[in-house]
């Protein structure tokens, strides 16, 4: 599978992590990947176990039960240049996130792309490139570099 430029939203400014997750989830809904119920399960999953991955990246996705809302595999991208804190409210360590990948995965079809994202983002300088990207195509091209 590949990223769809329609599911990439750049230069967003959101105050809370829940809004960031909802935005990533809404892109999945608009892209015909999930039913709206999936978004709540993304929020629930993040409250249960954080989807903050380190390196300014979060990959919100649904819980196990949320899988029933998935219609097809898809990954959305929300770029938040000013950053948003993904830590728990009662936690004083900051978990700043600049790029959010919303994930809906069926039958492991998303794993190749996700693994590219992981390898690319394990270098924080690459994340900076994603956080500075000016067009959706730039994001797609950046992730294509992996493995070349």
């Amino acid at each position: 599978m590949q990223l769809d430029s329609k599911m990439i939203k750049l230069n967003q400014d959101v105050p809370t992590r829940d809004q960031a997750i909802r935005m990533a989830g809404q892109l999945l809904v608009d892209g015909g990947c999930v039913e709206p119920g999936y978004i709540d399960s993304m929020i629930a999953r993040n409250n249960d176990v954080s989807t903050y991955m380190g390196n300014f990246i979060a990959i919100p996705h649904g819980t196990d039960e949320g899988k029933k809302h998935i219609k097809k595999t898809g990954i959305s991208v929300v770029q938040i240049p000013m950053g948003v804190d993904f830590s728990n409210p009662d936690d004083d360590t900051e978990q700043l996130v600049t790029v959010v990948f919303g994930i809906a995965g069926l039958n492991n079809e998303h794993l190749n792309l996700l693994s590219q994202i992981a390898i690319f983002c394990s270098d924080v300088s690459n994340v900076a490139k994603l956080a500075d990207a000016q067009t959706p195509e730039e994001v797609i091209d950046l992730l294509k570099e992996v493995g070349k």
Binding site: M1, N11, R45, D48, V49, S50, T51, M53, G54, N55, F56, I57, I59, P60, H61, G62, T63, D64, G66, K67, K72, T73, Q79, I80, P81, M82, G83, E94, L96, T98, V99, I103, G105, N107, N108, E109, H110, L111, N112, L114, S115, I117, A118, I119, C121, S122, V124, S125, V127, A128, K129, L130, A131, D132, Q134
Partner: protein, 592 residues
């Protein structure tokens, strides 16, 4: 005991093979008992209550049900549900056209088909066009299943027929010349090394079922399950033992005789290895008496307690079976008593039990929890066969972590599989390393108490990955430490900066560099905090700055041009990379 590395790894190999064989049988013991009881009660004309109609169940259960279940279980051991289904399909190829129960054939075809399907899946999984997964899944299994069933029918089936013909000729010959008892010379020591299930379920039970299907009963079922030798040894301890071994022996004897849990007497033998002679002589006597007095069981006695043995005894074999068990107990008692009386030294039972625990752990291919200390970590890493990342749904974070580690393994030349799954799907296995998020560590530990566990806070950039890689690599390549990936950047000059004046550090958010400035600010602040410093760090737009030499502005070469046009007093450091440049650490060190 086995101490040297070579023999212990041989033991591990033998044990693994045995575990795999008994792993296919163990889950299906219930089905074997169902068949055994049906046959014992209703078989015409030899059963207790012969019934020609119910008797019709007996043959299909034996010929079809049991081998199919074993093939199914064998396939599942290799490749989950898909392996199980194809294992059953392929096993049918071995079954069709024979009148023998194809247990060994099932034990070959089940895992083999599961393995082949797994290889096929591995090869094609990446190339499936999205949307065609179900079609691929069903047809690949169906087509490969058909091919394997045909292969099994034409190739494995004749081999099995030939093999079991000669095996039965061999067993027959041993029985006819009254040599069968000699097999106990091997069986008894193997039992004490906790190979009892492997031998019993892996070898004797399948051969026994075949024999029982021909003549209605088999002595082979009794050879491992006979509680006589263990009972004799424990009775000897009751009378001639000392200290804790004497006082604990009566309870152990009851568990051995009525509960059939052989493991209970193994530590007593380990305490005084010479007692193995008592066990062997008891076993030989038992088997000899079973053969002589026409003993035998209709089905496997599991567990090997006197009650289970009587329950599945063939009609007319009760006397022989009782004489055999009793004889074995008497002989092993006498020999054990002689050994115990001659040797006055008191063994320390507690210590031996500990030794047994660790042997048992070793023989099951697991590590003792106490060995998971940092000191022994390399030893534990030596056992790792695969790595599983676990998260809540198995969809996102664990998949990311797994692909990163897989990538690192590949670069380091480590050939260990890395997969991901949901925590609730974790299975306790041998040689497993489980990586989880810290929040899930407890749940993962509950599911897999015998695995090694590593929990990470940061899936993308955890130093623990490098620890894992380094530990695993240390096993294959001595002293080849992974090179630091840090690129040596030209240590640019930060000379000319007056660090005493600086009150604030700024990163610039300009047109194309908003996100990276946000990140750079956060990382720099972390760095300061770690160094115990607290200057404010800000990410600002270029027009938000004030021209003041208390500001240290860190910029990329592109941003510097704009900066020098507007401001003259601020202090500027140019870096190639806002996040990872060596100069950043230097600045942190030099700040007050």
């Amino acid at each position: 005991m086995v101490q040297s590395k070579n023999s212990s790894s041989l033991k591990v190999k033998v044990q693994k093979f045995g575990t795999a064989l008994s792993g296919m049988i163990m889950p299906n013991i219930g089905a074997i008992i169902a068949w055994g009881l049906t046959a014992a009660i209703f078989m015409t004309p030899n059963g207790w209550f012969p019934n020609a109609q119910i008797n019709k169940l007996v043959q299909p259960m034996l010929i079809y049900l049991l081998p199919l279940l074993i093939g199914y279980t064998g396939g599942r051991m290799i490749h989950e549900d898909r392996g199980a289904v194809i294992g059953a399909i392929a096993t049918l190829g071995v079954i069709v056209g024979t009148k023998q129960p194809m247990f060994l054939g099932a034990m070959i075809m089940g895992p083999l088909s599961g393995w082949l399907l797994k290889k096929l899946d591995d090869a094609f999984q990446d190339r499936i066009i999205s949307g065609f997964e179900m079609i691929y899944n069903n047809f690949s299994l169906g087509i490969l299943g058909m091919i394997l069933a045909i292969f099994a029918y034409f190739v494995i089936n004749p081999i099995m027929m030939w093999g079991s013909y000669w095996a039965s000729v061999g067993v027959d010959a041993i029985i006819r010349v009254h040599l069968l008892p000699l097999a106990n010379i091997i069986i008894e020591p193997a039992k004490v090394l906790f190979l009892n299930n492997a031998i019993g379920n892996g070898i004797l039970v399948p051969l026994g079922i075949q024999q029982a299907s021909e003549v209605g009963k088999s002595v082979l079922f009794l050879m491992e399950s006979n509680p006589g030798p263990g009972l004799g040894i424990l009775l000897a301890f009751m009378l001639f033992g000392k200290g804790s071994s004497k006082s604990s022996a009566p309870g152990a004897a009851i568990i051995e005789f009525f509960g059939g849990v052989h493991e209970i007497y193994f530590p007593y033998v380990l305490m005084k290895p010479a007692l193995i002679i008592a066990a062997i002589c008891g076993g030989i006597t038992g088997t000899a008496l079973f053969t002589m007095f026409n003993g035998g069981l209709k089905a496997a006695a599991s567990p090997g307690s006197i009650l289970a043995i009587l329950l599945v005894s063939a009609k007319g074999s009760y006397l022989g079976n009782i004489i055999g068990v009793a004889g074995a107990a008497v002989v092993s008692f006498i020999i054990a008593a002689i050994i115990l009386k001659r040797d006055k030294g008191e063994g320390d039972l507690a210590a031996k039990q500990k030794e047994m625990e660790s042997m048992k752990a070793e023989s099951k291919g697991q590590q003792m929890p106490s060995e998971q200390t940092a000191q022994d970590s390399v030893k534990s890493y030596a056992d790792i066969k695969k790595v599983i990342f676990a998260c809540d749904a198995g969809m996102g974070s664990s998949a990311m972590g797994a692909s990163l580690l897989r990538d690192k393994f590949k670069k380091a030349g480590i050939d260990i599989s890395v997969t991901n799954t949901a925590v609730r799907n974790l299975k306790d296995e041998q040689g497993l390393l489980v990586v989880t998020q810290a929040e899930l560590a407890d749940r993962a530990l509950q599911k897999t108490p015998n695995a090694m566990h590593v929990s990470v806070g940061n899936f993308l950039n955890s130093p623990k990955y490098d620890t894992i890689v380094a530990n695993l690599k240390a096993l294959t390549q001595v002293s080849d430490r992974p090179k630091e990936a840090k690129k040596e950047k030209t240590a640019g000059s930060i000379e000319g900066i007056d660090f005493n004046k600086i009150k604030e550090i700024d990163f610039i958010r300009h047109d194309q560099h908003v996100g990276s400035a946000t990140m750079a600010r956060s990382l720099f602040e972390d760095g300061l905090k770690k160094a115990g410093k607290s200057e404010p760090v800000k990410a600002l737009k270029i027009n938000e700055l004030s021209d003041d030499d208390a500001r240290l502005v860190i910029v990329t070469p592109a941003a510097k041009k704009n900066l020098v046009v507007r401001y003259s007093d601020i202090q500027v450091v140019v870096v190639d990379d806002l996040l990872q440049d060596n100069k950043l650490q230097e600045i942190i060190n030099k700040l007050n």
